[in-house]
């Protein structure tokens, strides 16, 4: 519930049924490194100062004390500010995985904050990489997500449990693809007979992608929806066979004028028959059968 509130804060118009699966920041080891660096920057100079005062007290007399006090104070404040900025930089690098999208929030300094989001169905390939001694021991690493199209790839560095992240992303991708309301793209194909005869196959969008990677996850569904199973009626003949081989008796060959500027005469005008519009709106996933059916020959024309 807390994560839901966080998502609402980032995306006020997030879907009602959108569920946060993973909300993660950088691994705590990165924060520990910042603490160690800050601690070392605090300890080392002051230890050196104390040693100097202890062994060389003759240097710290008069106005030298003023300099030491002023610069020590400035140094301490500088370290504090560096800690704050480092913390802001690390703490606001957030990765959110929901059941619909991936959100990547990048904070670079105080004045550079980017929020990128990616639909899970646009994920093309995902890989988790764990390298180094600490990464292996503490289970943190890098997740790289390749996206379809021109969208930039998503790279999350030093996030905890990268393998778990990719597994959840993969299973969510699989679930979305196999769901009936999944992102189904409509693709039309022309048969070899051509000349306008078309059969419509419904493809999952992954069929339009290159083979390999995460795109193969829903293969069992794509088999059912492959173009081979497209609803082509076996009895319907290609439209090319419906065109008469001989010209009709009232057909006249147009007269070609000698002067090229003179318009062609006697061209029989054929009334334009606009294509019958498909009723209703087409949405993703709408299955439309555009197969040209042969007219029923057994039907008596007088019945009309």
């Amino acid at each position: 519930m807390e994560d839901q509130d966080r998502l609402r804060k980032i995306f006020p118009n997030a879907d009602v049924d959108e569920e946060v699966l993973i909300f993660t920041r950088k691994h705590w080891f990165m924060f520990l490194i910042i603490f160690i660096i800050i601690f070392a920057m605090l300890i080392v100079p002051f230890a050196l100062l104390m040693i100097s005062i202890r062994f060389y007290p003759q240097f710290f007399v008069g106005s030298i004390i003023n300099f030491v006090v002023v610069f020590s104070s400035m140094y301490l404040l500088f370290i504090s500010a560096a800690f704050l900025l480092g913390f802001v930089n690390l703490y606001f690098d957030i990765v959110i995985l929901t059941n619909k999208r991936i959100v990547d929030i990048n904070q670079n300094g105080l004045f550079n904050r980017t929020i990128d989001e990616l639909d899970i169905l646009h994920v093309e390939d995902v890989s988790a990489k764990v390298t180094g001694f600490f990464g292996t021991m503490l289970d943190f690493g890098c997740v790289e997500i390749q996206t379809a199209g021109t969208a930039r790839n998503f790279i999350f560095t030093n996030i905890p449990h990268p393998r778990e992240f990719t597994q959840k992303l993969t299973s969510e991708y699989k679930r979305l693809i196999s769901s009936p309301s999944g992102n189904v793209a409509l693709k039309t194909i022309d048969t070899a007979e051509g000349l306008g005869e078309r059969a419509v196959g419904v493809f999952n969008h992954k069929d339009l992608r290159r083979p390999g990677g995460i795109a193969n996850l829903g293969a069992e569904k794509s088999e059912n929806l492959s173009p081979k199973s497209a609803p082509i009626e076996p009895e319907s003949k290609p439209i090319s066979e419906n065109i008469p081989k001989t010209a009709p008796p009232d057909f006249q060959i147009p007269k070609i004028p000698e002067n090229k500027n003179e318009p062609v005469l006697n061209i029989p005008e054929t009334p334009e028959t606009p294509e019958k519009p498909i009723e209703g709106e087409l949405h993703e996933g709408t299955i439309v059968d555009l197969t040209v059916k042969k007219p029923d020959q057994n039907q008596n024309p007088d019945d009309k």
Binding site: D5, N66, V69, V70
Partner: protein, 82 residues
Amino acid sequence: MIILLLAYLAFLLGFIIISGLGLYHLWKYGFRGDMTKIVMITYIVVTGIIIFFSLAIMLSLKWGSVSFPSIEEFIPQIFRGG
């Protein structure tokens, strides 16, 4: 010597601006129940202590012709409110 003191005050002004921006980020982008509030409070307390003691020590030192009360006199004056 007074220049050193003025330089310190200028640095202090810049530090306060940067800190204000950092704290603003923590306040604006933090979520309920996360570490931002703890960090904000810790930062304000720690830097407040640093600034307070730095000023207390500096004011107890001699800065040329300008004389300030010593730290032993200065701290009780603050707690007495003058």
